[in-house]
């Protein structure tokens, strides 16, 4: 039973690893990517470490697991905040939905123009 719980926790952690990485790869802008990296990253690492603690069930391991999780919970928001502030102050271009619509409209329009120019 304990192995079953540990297996479920570890597997969920693995799935969230993929979710976090997809967020990093697919989201359009630094701040959105940061959200996926800090929140989902902390969750998946916490799940895996919780799985390890359940599997070993030993005082020393549980203590280390709690130390890692508390440390991640403390540092991930601070690191995220610092990167976000740096991104904002260095003037990284931010994404907005209107721009996205305009860009796709332009693409469709330019496609039509090209088709007209080259019969």
């Amino acid at each position: 039973m304990i192995d079953l719980i540990a297996a479920a926790l570890v597997f969920l952690g693995g799935i969230f690893a993929l979710v976090a990485r997809l967020g990093i790869l697919r989201l359009p802008d630094v701040l959105l990517r940061m959200r996926s990296s800090t929140k989902v990253g902390t969750l998946r690492c916490g799940l895996i470490i919780a799985g390890v603690a359940v599997h070993f069930g030993d005082g020393a391991v549980v203590l280390r697991g709690i130390a890692i999780i508390v440390f991640l919970l403390l540092t991930a928001p601070i690191a995220g905040h610092m990167i976000g502030r740096a991104a904002l102050r260095t003037g990284v271009k931010l994404w907005s939905p209107d721009e996205d619509v305009a860009a796709s409209g332009e693409k469709a329009g330019s496609g039509r123009v090209e088709a007209g120019e080259n019969p």
Partner: protein
């Protein structure tokens, strides 16, 4: 049966974590700006902390947890240092431009 299941789960999770680190490398190479790259590096450090936990189960050795703990610490320091560097670089460039004017 439970032990077998745990082994499969750990193997699958190792595969997924490695895949996520590889995809993170893509963002690290592509990232249009320095903060993008810092975010990708930060993410990879956290992924490797999770990998240390998986290695602890895989090889039945709790020493990997200490590695993970230290890695979380060092990764946080690296992220903060890189973020400060990015911020100061722009501040310094602005100051230099003002002097020129």
């Amino acid at each position: 049966m439970g032990a077998d299941l745990l082994e499969y789960a750990v193997d699958a999770a190792v595969g997924m974590v490695i895949l996520s680190v590889v995809l993170g490398f893509i963002r690290l190479a592509k990232g249009p700006s320095l903060p993008d790259r810092v975010v990708a590096l930060d993410m990879m450090t956290v992924a490797i902390v999770g990998f240390c936990g998986l290695a602890a189960i895989r090889y039945q050795d709790i020493a990997f947890l200490d590695v993970g703990l230290v890695l979380a610490l060092v990764g946080f320091l690296a992220t903060v240092a890189l973020a400060r560097f990015a911020e100061r670089r722009v501040a310094r460039r602005d100051a230099a431009e003002e002097e020129e004017e």
